[in-house]
Structure formats: C-alpha cells, structure tokens
Amino acid sequence: MYIMGIGLVFAGGFGIEQLERVLESPWQRPAADSKGIFSYQVDLAAIRDKGVLKGLRRSDKFSKMSVLAAADAVSCSGLGGLDGKRTGLILATAFGPHVTTFGFLDDILDYGDANVSPSKFSNSVHNAAASYIAESLNIQGPTLTITNFMTSFHSALQLARLWLDSGSCDYVLAGVADQYGEVLRYVYDNKLMPAPDGMIRPFNLNPAYQVPGEGAVFFLLCKEPGGKILCKVGTISIGDDGADGGKTSDVSIIDTDGMLPDESPYRASFSDSPLAAYSPLFGSMMIGSAFNCAVGALMLKRQEYYANPVWENPHGLKLLDKTGASGIESIRCIRYDCNREKAVIYLNKG
C-alpha cells in the first residue's frame, strides 16, 4: 500500500508544505489563553483558500478540519480529483464532534427536550464529517467512521489495506480528526499531567506532560504506485509484538505526548535507531500517531531527517539530532495505549 498524498490541518497551519516549514524551524511554544493555559488550536480563519469550505457553512469545526485535510490530501496526490474513481473513505476519531455534542446538551439544558436545534444534532453525529467529505469530494464508495481511541488510526490503515488488497476500492482516503474543547481539557488535566510551561517533553517518559491539541490529517492510499507517491506503508501491527519483532528501521518515531500518565512502556520498543517525536508540533491527541506518520512519510519522500523539535533528554536516549539530507529506507512509528498494547506502523521508501 502506498501513500499518494497527505493533507493536514494543525495548530501550525495547513498543508504539507507548511508542515515542512514548521519542521525546519525552531520549536515554538503553543498559544496560551488569558488564564495562561496552553493548547494547540487550529485557526480556521487563517486558512486563505476557503473554496472547499463553501458548502460547509453550517458545519462545525470538526467537520471543517476533516474536509480541509481530506481535500488537501487529494490535492497533494496530483490525482486531480476523485470523480468516477472507486474510492473508499475511513475517518478515525477518538472523541468525534464532542464540542457540538456538548452544544446540543446546552440546548437540552437551556431550552428543554422539545426545543433543541436539529442542525446541532445532525452535526453532533460521529459520521457527519465523513458525510461532508464524501459530498465535497464526490466519494461514492464505502464510507466509514470508526473509533478505537489510541489505535483508531492504526485500525483505519489496516482496514484501508484490506479494501485495497481485495479490490473493493482503487483508492482509500484514510485519516483522523479530533477537536480541542473545554470539557476535554478538564478531563485531560484531571487524568494526566498538564505541561506547566506549554512544553511536551516526549523523552521524559515519566512523568509525561500533555498539552491538548487538535487537527485532522488524511492520507490518500493506493495499492500500486501509478504515479507520484510519498512512501510505502509496510507492516501494521496492533497488539501483536511478534509482528514487530526483529525488524529494523532508520528512525523510530514514538507517539509520546503525555496521553499516558507514564510513558515508560515505550522503552521496551527502543532499538539502535535514533528516536524522534513530533508531538510538540501538534499537541497531545489520541490520534497523534497519524500526525507522526505524516512526518515520517515526508522524511521518506524528501530523503531528509527532521530533528526533534524538543530536546530534553533526561534518560540519555539516542535521539535524531539533526535536520538534513540522508538516505532513509524505513521508519517505524510506535504507539502504546493505556493497556500497554503496542501498535506499530512501518513506512518504507517508495
């Protein structure tokens, strides 16, 4: 399975070129609100090309981010569009459009059961974003929204491969989206360790510091490379250590972002290859693996390492320490969930 295009929306901006600029720049502390609370939030107003959002005026931020990223992935692929192409769509999310859901609960609490907004309800349904993507990009294949918390993205990628291998689809647009919100912030801060200075320290491991993030990233996938590709997706394993055993890679990207209170389990998967973690560019998210995979794919395409954005290294780990050209064959992206189950995605040079 190959990645033909990547589209993303994150606190640092929009699109793969912007991601590259952010990767090549010194790390910047995320914005803080008036109470000094840090978060990585997407500024949709700053996105100049609003063409794709034309038909989405009544949709919420979750759906808008999803549509922008999905459309950007198609644009990045150079495919020109998906009209008439046998394309499937898989949107993976940990929490779905929860901000809209709470808005709908506001309606119930403020106005009573009989006076709620149908539009808020429609947009609060988990698969609303996928519906908007299908409508915007004219995707008429299987369209699925799934949620598996921390392994949502891995499950989506695994299913995309099955759809492509079985011939059900010629292309699959698979991606993730999650949104920041006050309730989620409260939950995070009470269950996990907030970073007091806004800095996620991916190599601290314990305690692990989080700064909530939001965004969406999509990958346009195909079975055989017919044109431009970014990289190949190799083994995807979820909860199966055997599938990851004995494999080597040039870099290991770890999803340490403070979403586990103690990220020490990651130590078990460290190998001789240097470690990288890009969560300080995106924020802490259960779907963060997809953002790290986007960086991995970009490295393989450009054949260029991107140094870690945050350097603190209290355990003396071997870290990816420089940005620059290099021959890269393989990247291993690793995520542990709260049950200490490991999920791994290998990305290989295309």
Binding site: F95, T101, L105, D106, G112, S122
Partner: protein, 394 residues
C-alpha cells in the same frame, strides 16, 4: 465471487425479546412491546421500544449499551459453542454503535457547566467503554477490535468489516454486529428533525408518520470454513457479501434516486457471485431498513422495486423493535439469518395501506420463503448505504 464465511452463532435482544426464540415469537405474532419512555425523564411523549429486562449478570451502572451487547454476545457464543475457549483462538470483535461512542452524559455535563468541575465517573466509564474493546476484554478475545460509528448503518458495516478481516486473514472468528441503548440525547435529536412519529410506526405504509426509537443488540459469530472445521462445527448459514456506498449528497436526506443504495446492493451481490440480472430469482427475501420515515421508505422501496421487481418479499422488522440505530444492522442480520434457516419471514407490523409513490408493498403477514439468499439493508444518516447478503446451504 469472494470467499464466504460461516455464521456459526447468533444472539439478539430488543423490545421484541431477550433472545432469538422470544424475538421470533414476537415477530411471528406482530407483537409490539412499545410504550412511553421509562428510562429517563422527558416531557416528550413519542412511543419507544424499550428492552423489558436485561439479565442481572449484564446490568452495569451507566453502561446499558454494553449490557445489551454482552447479552447478545453471550447468546451468540453459546450458540456457536465458543464459551470459555476464546483465548486459544484468533477472535476479532467489530461492533457498531452510536450512543456508546459519545461522551454525552447530561448529569456530568450539567455539573461541569454549573460548577466548572464534575466527578469523572461518567468520563471514566466512557473511556473504558469503547464498545468493541470492552467486549473483547470481557470475553478474552485477542484479535482485532473496531468500533464502527456510522450512524444507522453501523451494525451492518461492522459485519462488513469483520468479513474483510476474515477474508484478509486478520482473525479466524469475528464477533460482529451492533448495540445501542435508548438515550435521551438522540431521542431529543431525532424528535427535533421531525422524523419521530407520535403513533406506532408503519413501515412502507402510505400514511406513515415517522420512526419510533428502540434499543437492543444483535450479534453474528462469523467464522472461516477452516476454523469451523478445526472446531468440528458445521453451519448451514453463510455470509457471502457486503457492499457499501456513500450517497455523497446530503447530511440528513437520502439521495432521491437511491444511487448509493443501488451501488451497495450491486457490490454485495457481486461479492456473492450473483448476477444482478437474475438476482430477483435467487433472493428469497430482503430485510429492509424500513424506518417508516417518508424519505427512507420511499427511496428504499423504489430501489428494491426497480432492482428486484414487485414479486420480491420485502419486510421491515422495525414495527416490532423500533429503530435501534447502531444496533439495527446487527439485529436485522440476526433476523435475516433466522428467517433463512426457518423458511419464513414475519409480516411488516404496522403496514396497512399500499403507497403508490413507493410502488411495492412489504410482506404483511408471516410468509413462507424458499431460496438460498437473503439481503439485509441499512441506510444511514450521513448518506451511507450498506448491504449484506446471507445464504443458507441447508
């Protein structure tokens, strides 16, 4: 034609009954165990189909959907002779839901809104309650897990995903279906959309006035031929195909020409090795989505008429279960499997008057069927259409 998998067990719970035998009795008699909401306080008075009783061993505080799901899973595992042996097998769990995927606890949110903080009990239940993961943990399944949140087609899509896992070699056995509880949030939401009936629902009827919400769970045990052979299990029921297609049209309205549903049916038939031109002769019945909303029944009925002709036996079982949202595809897959095995389908409870705009009537009384194949269709909010094809080899 793609590889078929066996259906080696089924389990179901809804207002129609706490297991398959009770459910079939209700369906055969056209019994409607509906009434006013008792599960939560609401000033709305639309009739609903609540499950009368969840067995004590599956009652869990704040986890009604999981309780319903476990009830159906338990019956299906017993049916498939899989109790207590799962840890030694490669077993996946794929479940569809809507309510269990949302952090929508009104008490928690109301306290948080008022006080800026709230006890996290409801949140912890939610974080620990991803439906597929929860079930897998409870029964010791160690294969792939996925919770599908595709609105009203979630259950059918979960079965389709499980089929692709089995064909792709990710597991040998898959527990697949859907579960949803009756909950105040979608009850208010569906009412706000103006598609909930004040009366008992009447699928495909000329005078239909909307859906009634329900709750429940339906689960299939899907198994590769090799796995069943190794376990010494036989089954005369198979899942032969799955098709899914998006309307790419509108968030809440189905595409008027039914193009997405037609594509989904075509894909499911193709996977089953059934030529569309001879499909009407091979399909013994269709368990239709048939929600009793004006738009769904019009589009779905017309597509079925166009593709299969007036003689096709079409039934909606929602007159006895209500619309169970994410559970519907699972429950109706169980009913379709049971119908194929038993050689009859129930009538469409609530249907009385032919609708010329649709052009086809559903089966209106308990009816004998013959033929090897059945379809179960699901049309979802968001414009997704999903279809499975089941087969009996008996």
């Amino acid at each position: 034609m793609k590889e078929s998998v066996l259906i080696t067990g089924v389990g179901v719970i809804s207002a129609a009954g706490g297991n398959l035998a009770e459910s079939l009795d209700s369906l055969a008699d056209g019994r409607r165990n509906a009434g006013q909401v008792t599960l939560f306080q609401t000033p709305l008075d639309r009739p609903v189909f609540e499950v009368a009783q969840i067995p004590d061993k599956f009652l869990m505080e704040g986890r009604r959907t999981a309780g319903l799901a476990m009830c159906a899973v338990d019956e299906a595992l017993r049916n498939a002779r899989l109790e207590g042996v799962l840890s030694a097998l490669r077993v996946g769990v794929c479940m569809g839901t809507t309510v269990a995927s949302q952090l929508n606890d009104i008490d928690f949110y109301s306290t948080f809104r008022r006080e800026g903080s709230a006890p996290l009990t409801a949140v912890e239940r939610y974080l620990d309650g991803n439906l597929a993961s929860f079930i897998a943990k409870r029964i010791g399944a160690n294969g792939p897990k996925m919770t599908v949140v595709n609105a009203c087609s979630s259950g059918t899509d979960a079965i389709g995903v499980a089929l692709s896992w089995l064909r792709g070699g990710l597991c040998d056995i898959a527990i697949a279906g859907g579960a949803d509880e009756l909950n105040r949030v979608p009850y208010c939401g569906f009412n706000s959309l103006g598609i909930v009936s004040h009366e008992m629902c009447a699928p495909f009827d000329r005078d239909r006035r909307g859906l009634n919400l329900g709750e429940g769970a339906g689960v299939l045990i899907l198994e590769t031929m090799n796995s069943a052979r190794r376990r010494g299990i036989t089954s005369g029921l198979q899942l032969t195909g799955y098709g899914s297609a998006a309307d790419a049209y509108h968030l809440t309205a189905p595409r008027p020409d039914g193009a997405g549903l037609k594509k989904a049916i075509a894909r499911a038939l193709d996977e089953s090795g059934i030529e569309p031109s001879i499909a009407s002769g091979k399909i013994s019945f269709i368990n239709a989505h048939g929600t009793a909303t004006h738009d769904n029944d019009k589009v779905e009925g017309r597509v079925i008429l166009e593709l299969f002709g007036k003689g096709i036996k079409m039934v909606s079982t929602k007159g006895c279960t209500g619309h169970t949202l994410g559970a519907a595809g699972g429950i109706e897959a169980v009913f379709a499997a049971a119908g194929l095995r038993a050689g009859w389908v129930p009538g469409t409870t609530g249907f009385k008057t032919f609708d010329e705009e649709i052009g086809i009537s559903p089966v209106s009384g308990k009816t004998a069927i013959s033929g090897a194949y059945a379809l179960s269709t699901s049309l979802a909010f968001g414009g997704n259409n999903s279809v499975i094809v089941l087969r009996t080899t008996d």
